[in-house]
């Protein structure tokens, strides 16, 4: 049996701690696994050799030393087990990221007991995280940076809490399922011009579009500007040729529309939409968004952007997850 198939075979027996109402996990006695480490097995072999030696030479003190070390070997199982028992992993928060970026899951590792805990390691698959000593009644912040692969809800994968303290002869571990989800936005596509439907509505704030009603500012003269626009007074003040700019009293509302995107593939569309949102935010141009089943009114700013990006992230994902 290969290592991985053995692992799969072993998986069927495993129990993992399910999150409680707070989304965290408290390590319970029966969810801890414990097996000897390589060193533990080595010591077992040495102990066997010591036992054979003691039998052979009939040395009672040899027996005593062997059995004492054997007792320590056995007792250390309990101590290693105790080192995990009762620890608590509590989810804190995680910021949303774009697909492909690293999501920083923040947890706290809590030691609610009066015993100090040592060398607790957080493991996610084969990535060893930090090893920590946690004094009694203490909690430590844990950061687990994990690379998000695709948009949607990125659930914090199963975490393994692992320890070999005190003697390194046994390793105890427990699988913790923590309820902490990172919302992953689609990966922004390459820059491009959004195909938009513009609708014009009257607005007091107006826009910077071209119009003739309100003076908005000056800019350097370009060939083609009407002589009516030239600010002659400024020219007289030797400030050079400047054109007066006028904005309209209408408001150009850009709607980023799913249906207008030429690409067919939904994920590609989401990526493009994501990029357009970012572009609009950069330009500080207000935008609305329409995707199948949802349309978001025009707006600007980080709250609006998050709303839109979240909608993209959640597009097509069953609500059962949330």
């Amino acid at each position: 049996m290969t290592r991985s198939s053995l692992y799969r075979w072993f998986r069927q027996f495993r129990r993992q701690a399910q999150p409680d109402t707070q989304g965290g996990v408290t390590v319970k006695a029966r969810s801890i696994y414990i097996l000897p480490t390589k060193q533990g097995l080595l010591l077992a072999v040495v102990l066997l050799a010591m036992l054979v030696g003691s039998i052979n030479y009939g040395s009672n003190l040899g027996y005593l030393a062997t059995f004492l070390l054997g007792g320590i070997w056995i007792t250390s199982i309990l101590h290693t087990w105790r080192n995990l028992l009762g620890l608590r992993l509590q989810p804190q928060h995680v910021d949303s990221v774009f697909a492909g970026e690293s999501a920083d899951f923040c947890l706290s590792l809590i030691n609610p007991s009066n015993l100090d805990r040592f060398a607790i390691t957080l493991k996610q698959k084969k990535n060893f995280g930090d090893s920590l000593d946690i004094p009694n009644n203490e909690q430590l912040p844990i950061h687990l940076p994990l690379v998000s692969k695709k948009r949607g809800l990125f659930k914090l994968p199963q975490i393994t809490l692992h320890t070999t303290y005190p003697l390194g002869l046994f390793h105890a571990w427990t699988y913790a399922e923590i309820d902490l989800n990172c919302l992953v936005y689609p990966k922004p596509a390459e820059r491009g011009k959004p195909p938009v439907t513009e609708s014009y509505t009257k607005s007091n704030s107006g826009d910077r579009g071209v119009g003739s009603d309100d003076f908005v500012g000056l800019r350097t003269f370009r060939t083609g500007d009407s002589p009516k626009q030239i600010d002659w007074k400024a020219y007289a003040r030797q400030q050079g040729l400047l054109s007066k700019q006028f904005g309209g009293d209408r408001h150009v509302e850009i709607t980023l529309d799913w249906d207008l995107i030429a690409e067919q593939e939904p994920e590609r569309r989401l990526s493009l939409l994501c990029r357009f949102i970012l572009q609009q935010e950069e330009l500080r141009h207000a935008y609305a968004m329409k995707i199948p089943g949802l349309s978001i009114a025009c707006g600007l700013g980080s709250a609006h952007m998050q709303k839109c990006l979240s909608a993209l992230a959640r597009y097509g994902i069953a609500d059962a997850d949330r």
């Binding site: 039998i55 009672n60 070390l69 309990l78 101590h79 000593d133 003697l167």
Partner: protein, 660 residues
């Protein structure tokens, strides 16, 4: 820091080298000198390499050094197997391992080899002191393991030791259970070829002068604890070996002693006692006059000496009943003839001396009395440093120098009796013994070694005659002391006038010896026989392997369950009072709408609370500072905790900021 990071600190490197050094020191004292020097060289090399990393040997140098070590060991022992050479090789290999420790994994291997080296010491020395020393080394090694398994180093040196102590104490019940019920074998698994080592004790060949060497040794030969009645000192002759033949120079047994398994002694034992015998590499066992029964299955030789099949290689405990009143009339065919044989160098003046007694005496007993009177009346001197006798020791002793000790008296008396036609044999053993009040037993030391004779008289059978007692009755009645004068000066005897210091010193020595005998009795002397009698007490005659396993598992799980229970409960004890107080304070603040976030430390929380309620600055910062000092600072006394409790109690913030 990560678990994948296998680096060790310089301090840990130094500690593992030191601990391993401590584990090896007792061996370094008895392996051949070149190996000792090699070990020291490796150790110094290691220390130098820790200080100056450029000295750390590379792979090829290590291989060469290892080869050198093996060759050195072989050149010293001419073999690599067996106890002594094996231990020599083990020490060399262990030091080489220490030299190359780099990674965490190496450190484990080094510690485990050290554990193994520790038990090999017990093949050479089983004393309590050695055991205590090795136990401490074992604790140090275990503490080191604990220390390297932490992330941050311990705050104090004591901390890993405290943890080791906890684990070790919990392991002790398991060790005891296994020790008591693990089945003992009487035969080794394979032949070990243990040669007789230099253990002192009686030899089966008496060449005058030999016992004198023993007399200088205060080493314990055996200890005896009597059940009830203790025979007086002049009757405490511990017989060990009977010698029949002589060539005029030394006394020995030409024939292997015939061992009769079925000698029936119709006698009842008046004295029942237990003997704790030190290893003496010989088969015979010591007992008072007539050993009539022994619980163990020992054999009885034709001259009524208890014997074992195998030499006593380890200390041994046995129970005997002896009769001191009964006559020993065991005579086998040819025995009396053997007890009359004379060497070739009997001189004319010896015959004349004996002839004088024979002419004036009518019975054998009278001749014996006359001979004893001769020793008493002539200017014989009892001395432990007699002149050397070369070609005819008995003759020179009897007529020329008249200086000697028990051996000279016994051999010459035996020869004179044989000339007189009285069958006589020489007995070697110990006489007397020092009483230990604390343990209620007698210590028989090597300087209690003695030689006397047994003569065959028709009316009384084999009768003990001690010619030394005729010359120096103090030798029998008082303890011989171990301070000797100049050559030829009479030996000193220890009388009762001991000062206060002397008696308290002796008391202390007895206390130590008592601890020692308990150690011998219960730890080193624990045997198959003890195990069986213990099992019988619990109602098991024999245990099948299955029963044995079940009992073992059952007995081990009891302490394990208790430990588990203790471990679980110890975490659930009342939280520390300062934490309770601080939580109360947090609750009070939370009522004002300033609740502590889970990620917030006390400092950050205090800052935020002060920002919201500047009016509470004084009390908040006071409580926070006190709490931090109690919780994270060096150990504070109880008054500090009390102060915090009081502060929190008095902390009654109003709902509104004053003035708003």
């Amino acid at each position: 820091m990560q678990i994948a990071d296998h680096s060790l600190t310089a301090r840990q490197h130094l500690l593992v080298s030191l601990c391993a050094g401590l584990a090896i020191v007792p061996h370094a004292l008895h392996v051949p000198l070149p190996i000792s020097l090699f070990l020291i060289l490796l150790f110094v090399w290691r220390l130098a390499a820790l200080r100056y990393p450029q000295f750390q040997p590379g792979r090829w140098l290590l291989v060469l050094t290892t080869l050198g070590g093996v060759i050195l060991t072989f050149s010293q022992y001419h073999t690599l197997i067996g106890r002594d050479a094996g231990v020599g090789l083990l020490t060399v290999m262990m030091m080489l391992k220490i030299l190359e420790v780099r990674k965490r994994q190496d450190l484990y291997v080094a510690v485990f080899i050290s554990y193994f080296v520790i038990i090999t010491h017990f093949l050479f020395d089983q004393s309590m002191v050695m055991a205590l020393y090795l136990f401490s080394v074992m604790v140090c090694l275990t503490a080191l393991l604990i220390e390297i398994n932490r992330i941050k180093p311990s705050a104090t040196t004591l901390e890993p030791f405290v943890r080791t102590a906890i684990i070790t104490l919990q392991a002790i019940p398991i060790a005891i259970v296994l020790f008591v019920i693990f089945p003992r074998l009487n035969q080794p698994l394979w032949n070990l070829g243990i040669g007789s080592s230099g253990t002192t004790g009686l030899s089966d060949r008496v060449t005058p002068g030999q016992i004198a060497e023993l007399i200088e040794s205060p080493e314990v030969a055996f200890r005896v604890s009597f059940d009830r009645e203790v025979p007086p000192v002049e009757q405490r002759y511990w017989r060990g070996l009977v010698i029949w033949d002589t060539d005029g120079l030394s006394w020995f047994n030409r024939k292997e002693q015939v061992v009769e398994r079925h000698i029936q002694l119709k006698a009842h034992g008046e004295h029942s006692y237990e003997v704790f015998l030190e290893a003496h590499q010989k088969r015979w066992l010591y007992a008072l006059d007539l050993p009539v029964s022994s619980k163990q299955n020992f054999r009885l030789s034709q001259d009524i000496i208890l014997q074992r099949r195998e030499p006593v290689r380890q200390s041994l405990t046995y129970q005997v009943r002896s009769s001191t009143e009964q006559q020993n009339r065991v005579v086998l065919p040819g025995m009396l003839q053997r007890a009359l044989e004379l060497p070739d160098n009997v001189t004319q003046r010896q015959f004349e001396l004996v002839e004088g007694w024979r002419s004036s005496a009518t019975t054998s007993r009278e001749i014996v009395d006359l001979a004893l009177a001769h020793f008493n009346s002539q200017p014989f001197v009892y001395t432990l440093t007699p002149p050397r006798y070369l070609d005819n020791p008995i003759d020179q002793f009897l007529f020329d120098t008249q200086e000697g000790f028990c051996e000279h008296y016994a051999t010459s008396f035996a020869q004179l009796m044989r000339i007189a036609g009285i069958p006589t044999r020489l007995v070697l053993g110990y006489q007397g013994g020092e009483f230990n009040e604390l343990g209620d037993y007698y210590i028989i030391r090597q300087y209690d070694a003695h030689a006397w004779t047994e003569v065959w008289l028709e009316e009384s059978g084999w009768l003990r005659v001690d010619p030394t007692a005729a010359v120096a009755p103090e030798r029998i009645r008082f303890q011989l002391r171990n301070d000797f004068g100049a050559e030829g000066s009479p030996a000193m005897f220890q009388l009762d006038e001991l000062g206060l210091v002397g008696s308290s010193l002796r008391r202390f020595a007895h206390m130590l010896d008592n601890a020692n005998i308990q150690w011998r009795r219960w730890i080193i002397g624990y045997s198959r026989e003890h195990q069986f009698s213990l099992m019988r007490n619990f109602g098991f005659d024999t245990l099948t392997p299955l029963q044995w396993s079940l009992i073992t598992i059952g007995l081990i799980s009891i302490p394990l369950l208790l430990i588990a229970l203790r471990l679980v409960l110890s975490g659930k004890k009342q939280p520390l009072p300062e934490i309770v107080a601080y939580n109360q304070y947090c609750k009070k603040l939370a009522r004002l709408g300033i609740s502590r976030k889970t990620y917030e430390g006390p400092m950050d929380y205090a800052k935020r609370a002060i920002a919201e309620r500047p009016d509470l600055t004084a009390s908040i910062s006071r409580i926070t500072a006190l709490y931090i000092r109690l919780r994270y600072g060096p150990k504070a006394d109880k008054s500090q905790t009390k102060k915090l409790l009081q502060q929190v109690k008095q902390f009654r913030p109003g709902r509104q900021k004053p003035g708003t």
